[in-house]
Symmetry: D3
Subunit: 224 residues, 6 copies
């Protein structure tokens, strides 16, 4: 059941992926109906990064990063590595050498439900990582896992070729086949928010802007 | 029991509030006898902010941010929003639109025993938040809570109009009626520390500065 | 059993300590066979610091920082303070006054399996701290502990005079008597990595660079 | 601010308290509108106990159980001890000697947002405890706290004389002045549930019993 | 995307399901190559239960148990309810009334990545539950979820009709289509273990029984 | 540094070890001055067990239980296995086969700062385990660790031959060379407690029994 590498995966269109990155995690998550958000413990190693890419998925044994080397060969420019261990682990699977190699293949970052190390180097290299932990604890290369199979990463199912968006708010996965439709909704949402933002900045408040007063009263809200 | 909005709350004097902000959390907490510190898991979304304000309190259902809209109408310039969910929740109750609205009312920041999102935008806007989590997970507007009632936020009782101070060390609440007295003590403490700092920087050590040697010996400390 | 201060501790050579700092935690940890890494919950109060020093160890009661004052007198230039409470505690044992005093003695930083406060001041002073928590909660001076005895800090045994290295990846302890040998291995590792980095940056991948393909096939890896 | 003992506290009627115990935590919590539930980390040291009593509250320094001795003198038959430390602590504040003394005063149990020890003895004695931790780590008797002041215990405000109910589902606090009204609602709820239980046991399902089908369809539920 | 109920799901053969229950979680998990184990925080509400059943899956909003009522109608005798909230939640979704109804439909237990209540009643009824938390906090019936869609429960993907095995060691999911093959391997494993157990009980040790000495020596193990 | 097995370890006298077991963890911990208590997350798999034994220590890689087989050969009757992984791990290192083998060697139980499985079987066999987790996740046999070297287990240093006591209150380690002296103090403590217990049961309270009133008054305790 392990030991499989799926080689030719379908990817969403580059313009769609980049459009989703521009919208950011919170907007995309809303636009697709609030599904696909990875657990809040997935944090960026440095603030300010915002990326999207096609997922190259990795199912790895705890404490074993062998499959990362296998996965790097499967990377196309614009991809993100997404790794889930088969049991909980906070060891540092990934450091600056693997990042050097990933960057050479056009990889945009790493999402890892485990640990990462060399974070000062990764920060200087501008290679963003969202992880569960930072740990200098290294890993071995003894046991097979799989690449580009379905994985569960930080509570969410991620499939090879799905679009993953990550920024300071967290990480969100969009099914590849839904990506274009989600982008359209995300952009509509952004346009709508822009108009609201101007009104709110001018001092109008949500109770009026969203016409909430009647329903609040009906629910029984009392002022005193 | 829920569904109440208290409208006209008493506040401490602006000069007292600003004085407490200048002293910072660690000094204020000491000055009032080490009470009122919120749990250490309340962390700022960006480093370096230091604010104080009058608490506009919000008791909200888990995953429901409706009362934030109600609370914003109750804000006066210089206030802080302080939200506690009625059961543990890490969803992102607050983002850039609510912040735009809060800023328009003169609000100085948010203390939330739950999650926040759009943190990159909030950082750019200079709107500080101390929260339990960062999460893009949105909330609904279905169930009433209350505004300006007593709440328990991150283990501490906070009452509407209490002074809340927040910086990189955490968040501390001072009862409104104690604020002036606490400020006086905090300033005395600062003056006292300034003198000590110069001596310590010059190389004098605490064992001598605080005259600790005799008591340590009496307690049985042995050097070898 | 408590109440002891060991005064004259042996230290590693300064050049060895500085060499280990230059290598960093991840490399040193690998070089000594992946032992000595403190728990991943030990995080720096600001990013980018990298230090090494001889451990002046402190065993302190929960919520009592008296022994820090005693320990400061034992500091030599180039030392690190390493504190472990005798039962779990997140109170803020250390702040800007103690840092002022420690800096005056040539101390390079603090490793503390508990809390720290005044972190904005410490950041401005450039005094690095790796801690379990940030908390404004102060401590008392009532009960003796010990200085320069063996302690267990964040899951690792630390002895007075051991070399402690800390950076963004965490904290690692090297036995004093092993320090020179570990440095040699760490440097060899770095030289070796430098060569690999160039090849990886040029596009060669780990599967070829580390000659992994045959062993993966033998273990049963299947491509599809 | 600390060092106070309030001696003569008001209590709810014994029959009301016993009635609330008979209803149990889940029912009482529902009956009072889902407020007052302590955090879910408060667990019983043995299964099967169900008690209610008037709270004798204790605010104690971390790692200091002196005030428990003071509180025991304030106990009347039918009371529960409710202790909250002033900063997080898992030490074992309470063991078999204190339990012997508490039982002699008619105390029904202990609710403690910290640790307890001698749990095998307490189990044999039938003295129930709901705690955050079990720990053999003892405490000191050095610093004053207070008895029968307002405390925040496991996220909830508890006042002296409030009724506290505890069973395998957790711990719930009912304001003293609301106790009779809450009991009435709890009993109505129980009667109502009894009728439903019979129907459900006979095979009727909630969709019909609670008449949910129309609203589900209206919300858009689709069967396939 | 939510609001779906899949009605006619395929199930594994009853004899296979019961066979897997008899083998238990640890053996089944090994037999299928160490995949499918739910997170270790899923604990039984009472010790000693061991069950297997076909999963009726529930995707539920946080704090909303409406879909449990919908799911109960979909139960066949021998099924297990498996619920995952769409964002982390510890509220008590399930209590004795729902259990009464589930038992009437032949349900064997509940696996819930959230909270449960009425645990004393459930224990007396012999209805086993594996949950993340026990909490008296109730839930609402406001928002749709789905039944018998793919869910991620405690880090594992569970599909309707998959076989779920649960005992004191935790919870494991076996794909429906793999169930017969896994059972065969599990039984082979058990037979093999039985023989070993006798030898071990007689005093033979694993170093000899598993012929480990040569490989340990080759790896460099030194006795002193 | 790894890959070592120390074969002939010194042990405390059997009568001393058994005496310490009879006193229990809380008393022994007090008797030796409140040192040596393992972290409170170490919990027994079933209630009621109370054992003491000489530690056979195991330092094991994460997810690798090979050294347990090596350690079993080193067991003498009356020993306890004490395992610490070299980085945090919750996998199930130990199950019923290893227990069968350990029992055949006279082993009294296992202390493991990681996971255990087959807990129902272990409970039936009466083989007690104190662990950080229960998990069916198995381990591999690939990498060497060491046996009977110094380890840090759940925050405490444990040396081969040290006496470890474990019961429902947790786990405590006593240095081998201190064991007889600690036993003497523990027994004195028990005798002293027996007399107090009778007085407390008769209604005398601690304030009088321990003569606390004057010191409380002097510290400023006020009754109102």
């Amino acid at each position: 059941m392990t030991g499989r590498v799926i080689q030719n995966i379908a990817r969403a269109e580059a313009s769609v992926i980049d459009g989703l990155a521009a919208c950011g995690v919170a907007t995309v998550h809303e636009a697709q109906g609030r599904i696909g958000l990875l657990a809040a413990y997935m944090r960026p190693i440095y603030p300010g990064a915002r990326v999207a890419g096609s997922a190259v998925t990795i199912s790895a044994p705890p404490g074993d990063n062998w499959m990362l080397h296998v996965a790097i060969e499967q990377l196309a420019a614009g991809d993100l590595l997404v790794l889930a261990p088969t049991s909980p682990c906070e060891d540092g699977y990934f450091g600056d050498l693997l990042a050097t190699s990933a960057i050479a293949r056009g990889c945009r970052g790493l999402i890892i439900d485990a640990g990462v190390r060399d974070v000062r180097d990764l920060t200087e290299m501008g290679f963003p990582v969202w992880s569960k932990a930072v740990s200098a604890q290294g890993t071995v290369k003894e046991t097979l896992g799989s690449v580009n199979v379905d994985i569960v990463c930080a509570y969410q199912l991620v499939r090879a070729g799905d679009v993953v968006i990550a920024d300071d708010d967290g990480v969100c996965v969009v099914r590849r086949e839904d990506a274009a439709a989600v982008l359209e909704k995300a952009r509509a949402r952004e346009a709508n928010e822009e108009a609201k933002r101007a009104k709110l900045a001018a001092g109008e408040i949500g109770l009026d802007l969203y016409d909430m007063r009647a329903r609040l009263e009906e629910k029984g809200l009392r002022y005193s």
